[in-house]
């Protein structure tokens, strides 16, 4: 980091009054211009400014758009729960899936949502281990997105069993002593998935909460209302900012990041096992685990951008979530999007090179069969759209980035639809072939899951700091005791 070059002229003078004895003059050569980086917090904002800007969002009354947005989201969520009630009371037949396509929108939606969550963990854990300081501005909201996405994902596999009480209670999914004396079948990847997804949801929640503790203490100390002070006080556990606590906290946070990294890689690998361990042509491929993980991160970053760009504009957080942050996320989209594109190509190559006629047929059918439109929608959104981000001009055009991020979301939903439905609808015997069409219940249950997601996200920005106050401060020069803005006066301790 080009520290010396980033100091404004006044800062050195400001630090002067801390001078007890004049330091020896030290000449440090200016770093070359290409090594200079844009600061992570723009306009040299003070520590208090950062607290006020972020805590202010959840302290001041919400802007006018919040209530209509909340009512629409909550209504959509209500629609989803009504449709689930309708499904449970009637039967899974209210959805369009049937032999041979006995997985369709349900599992598509599940993989779609769980994939979105992966970006949050990547930002909070992997970028933490890689010491990417820019993560601090976006990790809180991205982790929240992870948890809400996992909540949306969890609904579909549970509901698709139809008689959900069998799935949940007497030990089919969760090991639980029951009157039938049976246990879950641990040789099935579907059960591995149950453990992977529930561990993922739980650990993400723990990691998110650990990160929130110091910020809740900040909100507690600023709270003017009794109830707020009590609740923030309760959940901040009496945090004081003691360095003896920080010492353990920093270690715990690093360990949680170290645990979440292999976790996030395992979760989507195991999700891909749901398909890859089966023998269905189009599913039975070894490329699935890395390809699913890359796709998950790609889709998640798409969703992070879709959420973060409006949030930063609506709450005036341009100095904390800067254009540089958006640009860096676009680069992640470009990298993971390229991996996804490569995987699509490699799948086709192996289908031909592997010499299995069923496999080759499955892939030809994907691109040119009755579901050709979904395959080419996927290719357009996932393979073509990220390549706009080779150009800095487009990466820094926020409106353009937002539009492309929406394409990524759509494309990644289609990817899962293509994998699931096109592989199933042509069975081995032509007499068993079919064509899946969703019913209105399919469509509105999926739409409703966005209602749940948005409701949770709106509540989150209403009550919790959407950006980590503590971590953003820690990457400013004011936090560095060896930086003039941190009060350093030139001599070493």
């Amino acid at each position: 980091m080009a520290k010396a070059a980033a100091i404004p002229a006044g800062a050195a003078a400001e630090a002067d009054h801390h001078d007890h004895h004049a330091p020896p003059q030290l000449k440090v050569a200016e770093p070359p211009k290409e090594l200079e980086r844009e600061p992570l917090v723009l306009n040299n904002r003070s520590l208090t400014w950062i607290t006020d800007a972020i805590a202010g969002v959840c302290e001041k009354p919400m802007p006018k758009w919040w209530w209509p947005a909340f009512i629409i989201s909550a209504g959509t969520m209500g629609m989803m729960f009504s449709l689930i009630a309708y499904l449970i009371s009637t039967g899974v037949g209210v959805w369009g899936l049937n032999q041979p396509a006995d997985w369709a929108w349900d599992i598509t939606n599940f993989v779609f949502w769980i994939g979105i969550g992966h970006a949050g963990t990547l930002i909070s854990a992997v970028l933490c281990l890689l010491r990417q300081k820019w993560r601090t501005s976006i990790n809180r909201a991205a982790e929240a997105m992870t948890i809400f996405a996992v909540a949306c994902a969890g609904i579909f596999p549970v509901v698709h069993t139809g008689r959900v009480w069998f799935a949940l209670f007497p030990g089919y999914l969760i090991p639980f002593p029951n009157a039938n004396g049976i246990w879950p079948q641990f040789r099935s990847p579907l059960l591995w998935d149950v453990f992977a997804v529930s561990t993922y949801g739980t650990v993400s929640l723990l990691f998110w909460y650990t990160g929130l503790i110091p910020d809740l203490a900040t909100l507690r100390d600023r709270a003017t209302h009794k109830v707020r002070r009590f609740l923030y006080g309760l959940f901040s556990l009496g945090w004081t900012g003691s360095n003896r606590h920080w010492s353990n906290y920093e270690k715990a946070y690093l360990i949680l990041a170290g645990l979440s990294t292999p976790l996030v890689l395992s979760v989507h690998s195991i999700v891909s096992f749901d398909f890859a361990v089966s023998q269905v042509p189009g599913w039975h491929t070894t490329i699935f685990p890395p390809y699913f993980v890359a796709g998950a991160i790609f889709s998640g970053f798409g969703m992070v951008l879709t959420l973060m760009i409006p949030m930063r504009a609506l709450f005036n957080l341009h100095d904390i979530i800067t254009t540089r942050h958006i640009e860096l996320m676009c680069k992640v989209l470009l990298a993971t999007g390229s991996i996804v594109g490569y995987a699509y190509g490699m799948e086709f190559f192996i289908a031909w090179y592997g010499g299995s006629p069923y496999e080759l047929y499955a892939f030809k059918n994907r691109a040119f069969g009755p579901y050709w439109w979904s395959y080419w929608s996927m290719i357009t959104c996932n393979v073509i759209s990220p390549h706009f981000f080779w150009f800095k001009k487009l990466r820094t055009n926020v409106v353009f980035v937002w539009i492309v991020s929406c394409f990524v979301n759509v494309g990644m939903w289609f990817e899962r639809f293509v994998i699931i439905v096109t592989s199933l609808h042509r069975d081995y015997l032509p007499s068993s072939w079919g064509y899946f069409t969703p019913t209105w219940v399919d469509v509105f249950t999926f739409v409703g899951s966005f209602g749940l997601f948005m409701t949770l996200f709106l509540l989150f920005i209403r009550f919790l700091p959407a950006i980590s106050i503590t971590e953003v401060k820690a990457v400013t020069p004011q936090a560095d005791p060896h930086h003039p803005l941190g009060g350093a006066n030139g001599h070493h301790h």
Partner: protein
């Protein structure tokens, strides 16, 4: 209610000042003291001569428990208690038991870490005499504090105050025991 003095709380304005103060207080030989900052300051653990955190041991204990719970549970359920051949696969092998055991390793490691964090930090602790200080409300905002306890054998009302003043504290206040 008896107001018993608990210690002196000194406020500092910058990260460099608090670092400087921490080193001086450590060198003066104090043991029962602490530094309060709105964010972790890099190098402060060394400045305070704190040992490396022990959270990792809790993580390890959690992880080991998780892994062996997974393996034992799967062996018990699928081989011992209700053996059922599925697809000609073996009743038990660590290979198919691995994904679930792996997830349980991570799950219990995470719980172990958080449990260790709470235990080592003695949290939750909702009542704290420091919260009575109006100044301390900025400890999680933009100010930096040193707190030296009267319980420290080296503590002296006048000398400790003089030391903190010399270090450039912008304010010093006495913290009382607020317990009834």
């Amino acid at each position: 209610m008896s107001a018993k003095p608990l210690g002196l709380l000194a406020q500092f304005e910058t990260a460099a000042d608090i670092m400087h103060a921490a080193i001086a207080v450590r060198d003066a030989g104090f043991k029962k003291w602490d530094v309060f900052t709105p964010f972790p300051i890099h190098g402060m653990d060394d400045a305070m001569a704190l040992p490396s955190s022990k959270v990792g041991y809790f993580t390890f204990a959690g992880g080991i428990t998780g892994f062996f719970t997974g393996m034992t549970m799967i062996w018990f359920m699928n081989k011992f208690d209700y053996p059922l051949v599925v697809g000609g696969k073996p009743l038990f092998t660590p290979l198919y038991a691995f994904p679930v055991s792996y997830e349980l390793t991570i799950l219990l490691s995470a719980f172990g870490t958080l449990f260790g964090l709470a235990l080592l930090n003695r949290l939750p602790k909702l009542h704290n005499p420091l919260f009575a200080s109006e100044r301390f409300k900025r400890a999680m905002n933009d100010k930096f504090f040193v707190f030296v306890e009267t319980a420290d054998p080296k503590f002296s009302e006048t000398e400790t105050r003089a030391l903190l003043e010399k270090l450039g504290a912008s304010a010093i206040e006495e913290i009382q025991d607020t317990k009834d």
